[in-house]
């Protein structure tokens, strides 16, 4: 069935290094993908999105890559900071309106 999954449940990086969080999706008909960041005790917060007609999109310190051939999504965070410590979710939108979340990856940033 439809599912969005992550390869690594926990990622630990040194402050200042780049972080890469990966995500696999199974519904080839999904046309919109979003990365959310969730800090402890808060709701998920939008980071960056990408449409299926694109393969790369950049924001401030973040880049999302989409590989439709292998149904893979990644979030790259440049110069990771302690404030980046959180759980990161990828989500796919199917049927034009239904958002399905993956299980999440916890990012630890070591000072």
């Amino acid at each position: 069935g439809e599912s969005v999954g992550l390869h690594l449940p926990t990622l630990s990086v040194q402050e200042g290094d780049n972080s890469i969080i990966n995500c696999a999706y199974s519904n080839s008909a999904s046309d919109y993908f979003i990365w959310y960041k969730q800090e402890s005790g808060k709701g998920p917060q939008f980071i960056i999105d990408i449409r299926s007609n694109m393969d790369k999109r950049q924001g401030q310190r973040v880049t999302v890559l989409l590989n439709k051939t292998v149904k893979h999504l990644s979030l790259q965070i440049a110069a990771t900071q302690p404030g980046d410590s959180a759980v990161y979710f990828c989500a796919e939108v199917t049927g034009g309106f239904k958002t399905i979340f993956g299980a999440g990856t916890r990012l630890f940033v070591k000072a």
């Binding site: 979003i34 959310y36 709701g43 939008f46 999105d49 939108v93 309106f97 958002t99 299980a103």
Partner: protein, 114 residues
């Protein structure tokens, strides 16, 4: 910056009791969502409203859960009777149009059923 408001922030109840959660979306957002998030997992959609109409409630346990958005603005999610397995974070989100858009989440209601 406009935010999605939710209350209460925390709720502790005993099983078989009734509980209710309230959500006020960002002004002008037509679409409202209720998600349930179990610790260590991603949010799971319970119900989605477009204005006052239900768009998707396929994952809502209708024998005990109900949701309404009578005037197409704020919304209430109710559980009656609560069960131990209902302990989770209940998140409300809204979006402007609802069709493939990013969601804005509230801080959630943490429910503990004893």
């Amino acid at each position: 910056e406009a935010e999605v408001a939710q209350s209460p922030r925390y709720k502790i109840t005993e099983k078989s009791q009734a509980v209710a959660f309230w959500c006020d979306p960002i002004s002008g957002h037509a679409t409202l969502y209720w998600y349930r998030q179990i610790l260590g997992q991603g949010p799971e959609l319970l119900v989605q409203f477009q204005d006052e109409s239900v768009v998707d409630d396929s994952q809502l346990p209708k024998d005990r859960f109900s949701a309404e958005r009578l005037k197409g603005v704020d919304s209430t999610l109710k559980i009656q009777p609560a069960e131990l397995g209902d302990s989770a974070m209940y998140l409300c989100a809204s979006s402007f149009g609802g069709l493939g858009e990013k969601l804005f989440f509230g801080s959630g209601t943490q429910l503990s059923v004893l």
